[in-house]
């Protein structure tokens, strides 16, 4: 999958295509749906990666050092699966806009 991670920098020459097809990788800003967001208690997190594995939007990055979890707020829908699945109950859902 490495190839796909690198966004091409050059603009290829264009040709006309007739009929329906999608060809521009785009995204809905699903983060705007969020009513709640996950908040991590770093003292409880064991960096096991369960939250990341089950996150529907692949929004959670687990670090080996420093702060254990980082979230991609542009796309996190606030579904709460991460908090529900955390084996250590280190994640809880808090209202969007509130402080931790």
């Amino acid at each position: 999958m490495q190839m796909q991670q690198n966004m091409p920098t050059s603009t290829p020459s264009k040709r006309r295509v007739l009929g329906p097809c999608s060809h521009i990788l785009a995204a809905a800003h699903t983060g705007s749906w969020r009513l709640e967001r996950p908040s991590v208690d770093e003292s409880l997190c064991i960096r096991c990666g369960t939250c990341a594995r089950y996150c529907p939007t692949a929004c959670i990055t687990v670090s080996r050092e420093g702060s254990p979890l980082s979230f991609d707020w542009t796309y996190c829908k606030g579904c709460g699966i991460c908090a529900n699945e955390c084996p250590k109950k280190a994640l809880k859902m808090i209202p969007e806009g509130s402080d931790d």
Binding site: V17, L18, G19, P20, C21, S22, H23
Partner: protein, 402 residues
Amino acid sequence: MPVKMFDGNGAAVEAIRLARPGVIAAYPITPQSSIAEHLADEVANGNIDAEYVRVESEHSAMSVSIGAQLTGVRVATATASVGLALMHEVCGVAAGCRVPIVMPVVNRSLVAPWSLWCDHSDTMAERDTGWLQFYCATVQEILDLTLCAYRISEHEEVLTPSMVCFDGFYLSHSMQRVDTPTDEEAWDFVKPYVRRNMYLDPQDVMFINDLCPTVEHTEMKYQQMMGFRRAAEVAKDVFAEYKQKFGRELHTVESYMLDDADVAVVTIGSMSGTGKYVVNQLREKGIKAGLLRICMFRPFPAEEVREALKNVKVIGVVDRSSGLGAAQGPVCSEVKAALYGAGVGKVFGFVGGIAGRDISDGSFRKIFGELLDVYEGKADDCNTWFDVRDDAMNIREVEMPC
């Protein structure tokens, strides 16, 4: 050029063989079945180097064809009647995704009632799905038009699939002599398949046929319309090249004795030969009769129809499908629309030849008789349905329980 003996289905198979498809997906249906069988034979004995996909329905036959051709190979399939009706949904996909599939369709009536025999209700129901439609009059034409259809459909400004329609049993099962190009001659004409538009290739990623919002859908249809417009021109170029290479003339419309005709019929498909025969008989009696055969129905050659019929006083258009609920049968509707405002004579629609009922020389004599009555001022109108039994409304009477 070798002369071979083929029935209509055999000619279709020969044309497909000459076009060297890479994937064949066919489901048997009377009267198309021998196409599905012979294609399987040709693959089994190595005359066609193709994958033969023994699909479980016509819907899958067309679906397989679309998927396969989008990988960059020419495909082959064929169907008839309710099989075409089952394909209807995916016929629209092939057209809308601009997959230039060429498909022989052996015309057979749609159910109900059940029938095994010929009329055009199957392909006429598909006339607005975005496919080119050619209607053959002879077995020779099945071979010729199928070969040409590849060139027309696959043209980069057309990219529109073709139905090559021919009458079930009348043509599909009638053995005729067919001038057949050699493999090399045909290949030189048809040429290898080249993917020109959308395709499935991990080296060049696109996702085909995603949801198209309203802001683009009209434009997609406009593109298809432009494809049809180009097809009308490309067909003439391809027919000209075909004539130059193989000596046979193909038409979008074929005029027969129309230059000085007072009365004429417009025909489509295998009935046309009988129509010409009756025109000859009438001419011998001094009656100025003529005939116009529609060979390409989609795109409809409106200008050619108008030009060909401009001096005819009374015209009868013979539809081989009932066009239920419409003001006219589908061919007549098209002809009338083409002639509207052109100041030509009167046009009457005739419906007959349903589900294998023969359109005989007698049928044409009756039709011409009615047209002549109008021409001579003895009548104002014609009977739309011809050769209908007198007891039509009472052909079943069942016992009542007491």
